[in-house]
């Protein structure tokens, strides 16, 4: 038992971030990277693994990314299995005991949520496609969740660097104050879209819909990760035309040829929205991403 305790103490010691200098914060997603920069301020140096233009489900796990993880004092990830296809590989290659599961440098940002959408109540099966068994992971498309994550980051950064705790919490509070009125403004601006049925290319926008009150009739790629069958697309086109759908929403990394084909058949407009910070021009920050999302939706509804 004594040797176990000594080993645990040694491991804990080795897990401590180096004193002095900025904390190395590695974030899997650009959204998380932006939030970490806002909360961490000059106390952190942020590296993002998945560029905004990449689909975070299928990022190639280049070992060079493992180098960044290897230097991390804090690893912030989306969780809910969004990065399950590549983050475990990087973790294995990084061999960084500070950010291993259960260590203080390991931060699953989904723990900030008060509600996870689409948690399967019955058993999941891959007949449904590449589903996320712990629920829908795209929660950062609701800015209120972004703020929750910011506070979670502040808490964890404060644990890692107690002497700077007040600064972390103050910056998270300031972000709250800055974004709260903008969240209300985005919600108000989206009023013209609220009454309109929409179709999406992939299931990606549920948190956005939950926040803004959007109504999605269905997805072209109804089984995540699986090319849609012609019969499904036929059925969806019929339903969409009957419901008067005028917009089909897609992320930049979706199969836009499929989306464009379906939109044409529905006589709808294809609206490509930024699904991550940096995924489209103009969406270089987290608030700017919502500016672009709301502007594009409203503009398409006005056409």
């Amino acid at each position: 038992m004594r040797s176990l305790l000594m080993a645990a103490a040694l491991a804990a010691l080795l897990s401590l971030p180096a004193a002095g200098g900025p904390l190395h914060v590695v974030c899997t997603l650009t959204d998380l990277g932006w939030l970490a920069e806002q909360v961490g301020g000059p106390e952190v140096e942020v590296t993002v693994l998945c560029p905004g233009e990449y689909d975070p489900h299928v990022l190639p796990a280049r070992p060079s990314l493992a180098r960044a993880v290897g230097k991390a004092d804090l690893l912030c990830y989306n969780g809910l299995d969004l990065e399950v296809g590549w983050l475990p590989v990087l973790m294995d290659k990084a061999r960084n005991s500070r950010v291993r599961a259960g260590q203080s440098g390991d931060l699953d940002c989904s723990h900030a949520l008060d509600r996870v959408l689409e948690v399967p109540t019955a058993g999941v099966s891959r007949a449904q496609g590449d589903v996320h068994p712990h629920g829908n992971p795209h929660y950062l498309l609701d800015p209120r969740n972004g703020l929750r994550v910011a506070h979670l980051m502040a808490d964890r950064l404060a644990e890692l660097r107690p002497e700077a705790a007040a600064g972390f919490h103050a910056r998270a509070d300031r972000l709250d104050a800055d974004l709260a009125p903008r969240i209300a403004a985005w919600y108000a601006a989206a009023a013209p879209v609220r009454a309109r049925p929409l179709v999406n290319q992939t299931k990606q926008w549920e948190y956005l819909a939950d926040w803004l009150g959007l109504e999605f009739l269905g997805a072209v790629e109804h089984r995540p990760g699986i090319a849609p069958s012609p019969r499904h697309v036929d059925d969806l086109v019929r339903q969409a035309m009957a419901a008067g759908v005028r917009e089909l929403v897609a992320a930049p990394w979706n199969h836009l040829d499929e989306a464009r084909g379906a939109a044409d058949r529905m006589d709808a407009t294809l609206v490509v929205l930024p699904a991550a910070v940096g995924s489209l021009a103009g969406a270089e920050t987290y608030p700017a991403m919502f500016d672009v999302i709301v502007q594009k939706l409203v503009a398409a509804a006005g056409e």
Partner: protein, 368 residues
Amino acid sequence: MHPVRLSVLLAVSLTAGLALAQSATSTGVSRDLNPALSVNTLLLGRVADKDTDAAVNGMDLQEAEMQFTSIVDPFWKANLILAVHPADEGYEVEVEVATIDASLLPHGFGLKLGKDYLPFGKHAPLHTHQYPFIDPPVGLQGFLGGEGLSEVGARLSHAVPLPWYADLDVYAVDGGAEIFDAASRDLVFGARFANLLDLGDTATLELGGSWLHGPHAPGFLDTDPAVAGTLDLLGADITYKWVSASSSQGPACEVTAEVILPQVDGAAGDPFGWYANARYRFARSWWVGAQVGGLDRDLADPAAAGPAALFGWDKVRETKANLTWAPSEFSALRLEVAHYDDQIGQADDTLVSLQANFTIGSHPAHMY
């Protein structure tokens, strides 16, 4: 193992597993701490135009691989892979991997203990369902055997502090594969040094070098069976990968070339093997691939070469092409044509194969 006994064993194991998984906490058995389980299965149908090797004609289970992965405690992570292969009579079970990885070593060191594929080159560490073509390159089969080198021992890894990603693996194992002298008390040592350079966000270039040293099997590569000797294997490989950022499952390509040079005291000539292949994802779910390769040995009696023999040939050139439909990450159908040329025009063979590859359960992500 007899096929009936194997079936009974599997049935009992599955039933017991299901029973445990459904147990309530009142039993004291929680499914939350069960290892992640997955099974990968390869089914293969194949036609050869000659009877060079009668076993290649027909349909069979190529392999079923059961994987169990879990965190053991704060210090170790464990991985167990059992593989079921066709045998002379029915099927046999083999332990392919049984390892524990140290989780908390400082300064970027990694330590793995147990049985695993040796990190020699690019292809040899792959599991069968990861192969880019149905069979391993003939240039590797000729010197490593058809199943690669899964050995028991210790392996230490470290990311070398260079401006690019560089990984050094060193290992010492008890050589049990066919190419090693299982009776020898000498260990097999080896190392791999892999360098991976980013060519922007979408492409990488990997340059690797491998070395392995150990006692070879009696008679390996026509050496005197009565004289114990050592084998040095040298390998070099280069891999280019590109994945378009334009869309998920969008265009992607991989190009790999590898050469292997056995150095054996008493072996005739300068044996070597090589291959080069390329794969391209030309549409969502669709890959096309091509491979060329060769094996050069000087064997007095090729048919007696034992583990080092593919079709018992001395020199082989291979040409392969395949088309793969992978509608999801968990299934693929592959059609492949492979032509083997014995270089003297007597025993050329062409194989047409159709392989089904599917995975169920929680399968860990593969290495890049």
